[in-house]
């Protein structure tokens, strides 16, 4: 298509750099500097979308980020597809492919448009009212049908091939918006050596100046001033200019989220360039110069393609050199549209003005325009529009003094500009927890006080006069850096002032007068909602969906608020606004995720022998962030078979396990023993150096928090282990008490989890395997008994050697510097080869400990389990008068009978492996809801017990040994027998071997 609506001169586009794109497969052409919207209009294309609910043809409505209609699926090639992208904020780029949305089979012929014919049915709350009965229809019929019809664009199906960055930045002054006020603010703020960041969502900075071809500033044209100002700012090393950057969220303490579009405007970006950058800026001061949005006027058929905001007509002509049409009608209730009309006239467009205000309210601007040969119809209103896929005319009528309408006539036209005044863009101000005050004269909610206290300048404050915007901007910038010198600006006068008007007179109740274009909300919907009893603007919003679309009602909210006020007979100030929430405009998931995807989504921690385990074909499980080997299956073995073989090998000879993931804390200091006495249930101060003890840690509420082994290396030095998942929280818990309750204790806590590799060698042959490698430690059982610790050397390396057992077998845990973990592991496997040493994983570890009835915190406990519930009352140091949690053990609930207690379970059929989490009931024929007596906490097939075993928490369990109960399974109930939780070696003789 040719650019038949492009002016030969005018605008800021580069006519020497044409750009080829495709719209629904058809080639269109634009120039560098175009947006997708201006390029489409240059090609004479207005009808670009189908509306959300009624599938009505829609056109480009605005020139900025407030666009409600012109949303596309944008395809940049590869898997780079973005749905619901605003045409007026997307830069034209060579090769871009645009697809219109929400229609079938095509934009021109959309079957869904049949809904429009039945629109009287689809009133506010239609879904709530219609799809209630019969109830059974919801799941099979209504929901699938609604889901199929819902939504706008299509989400991409392939992973996003682009990269995104996160940046954290600090500055003294952050200026948001680079229109006249923002530029003046940045100029003033950077007068002194202060770090200033100036952001603007558009590709070019300048805001309204970019389409202002008639104003002068300080004697020169607005464009000259803009050019000079940007050059000045660029020359200042403390100023950072970020165009194409949207400030989308204003958070506490001047923490502002920005999203910078880095490479979408480049046809062939460098491979290393990210697509977008998410900035988190912490600013000393924030200046909001976010401008204002023009308000549309509401009348029947105000949504036809070709109808747009009046200022947008001006922008397309002046900034892009594009005529949105050749015969324009501008409908207004304010003065600013006369400037648009004058600029269009000068560009060669035939313009008719329809001003809703009476003659005497618009005499000055009307006279000026009439002088230029333009018809101005003051005191007129619009009844409806003509046309379908493009506006063909407006039906207008004069408003008589009596309020009645005079003779109607149709104004033929091919484009329409609407201007119902201006709405300051107070979104970010409101997000800063700012209070808004309604200004009756300006008919706008304006910034008042704010918790975070950003300054604001220009149109966001309801200041529309150019000279005042500049002066206000300067003042805000100067004040932000402590300058007191104000600076006046000389600028030509701006036409301001408008009559507040929610909807045009004589909008018929049944007509299709749209308030919210994107969600297809009509005047009738709003009035119906109010009639049905909705009073709060927040409720009207949710019931009608006005303002809930991706544009968040930027052009529509004030009209909705006004309409509700009018219908209720209340003041706009009393209705108030809905809450402004981030983001200001939609933010891509890619930008939010940044580099946190794939392997970088969460850190992966691997123990020292991880690479070896991978080479052995291990099955892994995630334990917190750790990758732990679960089993080392041989050919044809599944997990259960491998786990059983490994567990059997440990009991028969020896096994080797990487236990490095256990948390390890070194507790040092003259008061270390006293401190541990207060943190653990046990008497740890009585522990001799060289000995260790299994210890329980409670929270102050008496419930088990963690467990581990406390080893005393020296009088004032302890090596404490924690569960794998509890390492960080145990350290925090200890630090908390040390710092806040007992600061008088001299104790130092150091996490040594990552410093030591821990290799467990367990089984009757473990001593034989260790012996050739160990120096300086007598391994004989009398010299080095169970629950003892020694320091010495292994393979020539300094080590802390523990004799302890989580398997019930003779066993050792070898602590060596983490970097040597693999070497020691290799040496142990070499030493144990002849004794059939078997690497085992966490599956075998779990089986072995469950056979012994050893608990795992987080599996047998759930934050409501006290020591006695697990039969561990013996671990509470006798005569201790205090430790964290002791007092709570005497709380009435913790001493009450019938608490759940740890027991063993075996299924009576000796075959069924119970499910962990299965509920235990007394009588399977009990009517629902049945009483639960407890649940299964651990369950395995036991190679030593030769049948399935389980641990369970059962109400009053220890007094029910021998009873028959029933466990739920996916296939029904299974009879189980309650027994002691120790299934193997109940006397514990083997560990002392």
């Amino acid at each position: 298509m040719a650019q038949t609506y492009r002016l030969a001169r005018r605008g800021r586009v580069d006519r020497a750099r044409p750009i080829a794109m495709r719209f629904n497969g058809t080639a269109i052409e634009g120039y560098a500097g175009d947006t997708v919207a201006s390029a489409l209009l240059a090609n004479g294309i207005h009808c670009v979308a189908r509306s959300f609910k009624y599938h009505r043809p829609r056109g480009i409505f605005s020139h900025g980020s407030e666009e409600p209609n012109g949303l596309f699926g944008v395809d940049r090639g590869g898997a780079r597809i973005d749905p619901n992208t605003r045409a007026s904020s997307t830069e034209a780029v060579e090769g871009l492919s645009l697809r219109s949305q929400n229609h079938w089979p095509s934009l021109a012929l959309d079957v869904g448009a049949v809904i429009d014919a039945f629109s009287p049915l689809f009133v506010a709350g239609f879904y709530y009212k219609t799809f209630m009965w019969p109830r059974s229809f919801w799941r099979q019929i209504y929901e699938p049908a609604i889901r199929a019809a819902a939504g706008l664009g299509r989400a991409p199906t392939e992973p996003d091939p682009d990269s995104y960055q996160h940046v954290h930045a600090h500055c003294d002054v952050l200026v948001i918006g680079a229109g006249p006020a923002g530029l003046a603010a940045a100029l003033a703020a950077s007068e002194r050596d202060k770090r200033v960041i100036l952001v603007d969502e558009q590709a070019e900075m300048g805001g309204s100046l970019l389409h202002d071809i008639s104003s002068t500033i300080d004697g020169g044209s607005a464009w000259t001033w803009l050019e000079q100002t940007l050059a000045t700012l660029q020359a200042r090393s403390t100023v950072k200019l970020l165009p194409r950057t949207t400030a989308f969220g204003y958070y506490h303490d001047n923490h502002v989220g920005l999203v910078q579009r880095v490479s979408d405007h480049l046809a062939t970006p460098d491979s290393g360039t990210p697509r977008e950058r998410l900035w988190q800026v912490r600013a000393g001061e924030v200046i909001l110069a976010t401008g204002a949005h023009e308000r549309p006027l509401v009348f029947s058929g105000n949504d036809r393609p070709g109808i747009m905001l009046a200022e947008s007509l001006r922008v397309f002509a002046n900034r892009y050199g594009v005529l949105p049409g050749r015969h324009a009608v501008i409908v207004t209730s304010g003065a600013s549209a006369y400037t648009a009309a004058a600029d269009l006239l000068a560009a060669g467009v035939e313009v008719t003005m329809v001003d809703v205000r009476p003659h005497h309210d618009c005499a000055v601007e009307a006279a000026a325009l009439r002088g230029a040969g333009c018809e101005v119809l003051a005191g007129h209103t619009v009844l409806s529009s003509r046309g379908r896929k493009r506006v063909r005319g407006l039906l207008i009528a004069p408003i008589e003094a009596s309020g009645r309408l005079g003779a109607r006539r149709t104004l033929p036209c091919d484009c329409v500009g609407l201007s119902g005044g201006w709405t300051p863009a107070v979104h970010l101000f409101s997000q800063s927890r700012g209070k808004l005050a309604f200004d009756l004269k300006l008919d706008a909610f304006l910034p008042e006080g704010s918790v975070d206290g950003p300054r604001s300048a220009g149109a966001v404050r309801g200041t529309y006069q150019l000279s005042a915007c500049l002066a206000q901007g300067w003042h805000a910038g100067a004040a932000a850096v402590g300058l007191t010198r104000d600076r006046p600006f000389k600028a030509s006068a701006t036409r301001t002032g408008f009559a507040p008007l929610r909807i045009l007179p004589a909008v018929k109740e049944g007509g299709r007068a749209f308030v919210d274009l994107q969600n297809d909300v009509t005047v009738r919907d709003i009035r119906l909602a109010v009639r049905e009893g909705f009073r709060s603007i927040e409720h009207v919003k949710r019931y009608t969906t006005a303002g809930m679309a991706t544009d968040q009602g930027k052009t529509s909210n004030m009209n909705v608020i006004g309409l509700v006020a009018e219908t209720l007979g209340a003041a706009v100030a009393d209705i108030g606004t809905t809450t402004f929430r981030p983001p200001y405009t939609p933010v891509t998931f890619g930008a939010l995720a940044g580099s946190s995807r794939g392997p970088l989504f969460e850190p992966v921690r691997t123990p020292p022998t991880h690479a070896w385990a991978v080479s052995q074909g291990a099955i892994f499980e995630d334990v917190g962030q750790w990758k732990r080997a679960r089993a080392f299956p041989r050919a044809n073995e599944d997990l259960q078979a491998a786990g059983a073989r490994e567990a059997t090998a440990v009991r028969a000879s020896a096994g080797i396990l990487d236990a490095s993931t256990l948390g390890k804390i070194e507790v040092v200091g003259p008061d270390a023993a006293e401190f541990l006495d207060r943190m653990y249930t046990n008497h740890l101060s009585r522990l001799e150096p060289g000995r260790c003890r299994y210890a329980l840690m409670l929270k102050e509420d008496g419930y088990i928090f963690d467990d581990g082994v406390v080893a005393r290396l020296k009088h004032d030095r302890f090596h404490v282990t924690t569960t794998t998942g509890g390492a960080a929280r145990v350290l925090q818990h200890m630090e908390e008490y040390l710092q806040t309750e007992w600061p008088e204790l001299e104790v130092y806590l150091t996490s040594i989890t990552e410093q030591y590799a821990v290799i467990a060698v367990q089984g009757p042959k473990s001593r034989q395997i260790l012996a050739p490698l160990v120096e300086g430690i007598d391994l004989a059982t009398e010299a080095f008994p169970h629950m003892a610790v020694r320091t010495g050397r292994i393979c020539g390396l300094a080590c802390r050697l523990f004799r302890l057992s989580f398997t019930g077998e003779l066993g050792y845990e070898i602590n060596v510097p983490a970097d040597y973990g693999q070497a020691v592991w290799d040496a142990l496997i070499g030493s144990g080869e002849a004794l059939a040493i078997t690497p085992y994983g966490t599956e075998a570890m779990h089986i072995l400990r469950a056979e012994k009835g050893f608990i795992i915190v987080g599996q047998e406990t759930d934050g409501t389990v006290a020591p006695d519930d697990l039969g561990m009352a013996g671990l509470i140091g006798r005569g201790k008068t205090d430790f964290v949690g002791l007092r709570s053990l005497a709380r009435p609930d913790l001493v009450a009978p019938g608490r759940k207690q740890l027991v063993g379970l075996v299924s009576e059929d000796a075959r069924t492996i119970l499910e962990e989490g299965a509920q235990i009931v007394a009588d399977p024929s009990e009517p629902l809801p049945m009483r639960s007596h407890g649940h299964v906490t651990s369950s395995y097939w036991s190679p030593s017990y030769h049948q399935p075993i389980a641990l369970a928490l059962i109400a009053g369990g220890r007094s029910r040994i021998g009873q028959r109960l029933h466990a739920t399974t996916p296939a029904g109930f299974v009879a189980v027998r309650v027994r002691d939780p120790v299934f193997f070696d109940p006397t514990g003789a083997r560990v002392h071997a």
């Binding site: 506490h252 630090e735 600061p743």
Partner: protein
């Protein structure tokens, strides 16, 4: 995200910290001598005021030290921070 003035490190973003609930609730010296109701109050009952609230915070991803903060629960602003063991400031600094 709040900017929290750690008394030891200076102002740092909120994600580096963890809040530990109400401050100035001293652990009883001899818990075993405390009655059930009083112990229950110590464990579970907090004031939850509307307005200025003294809270414990810890700079988990920084110096790992605990300190107290006065926060206005209405405006969600930190008004002052001070060391553990210091008296609650009468007036926010």
């Amino acid at each position: 995200m709040l900017l929290i003035p750690c008394p030891y490190c200076g102002p740092r973003p909120e994600i580096e910290f963890r809040c530990g609930g109400e401050a100035h609730i001293a652990r009883p010296k001899e818990p075993v001598t405390i009655g059930d109701v009083a112990w229950g109050d110590y464990l579970f009952v907090r004031t939850n005021p509307k307005g200025v609230h003294a809270e414990r915070w810890v700079h988990t991803h920084g110096c790992r030290r605990w300190f107290n903060a006065l926060r206005d629960t209405l405006s969600d602003r930190i008004l002052a921070t001070y060391a553990v063991g210091e008296h609650r400031p009468d007036r926010p600094r």
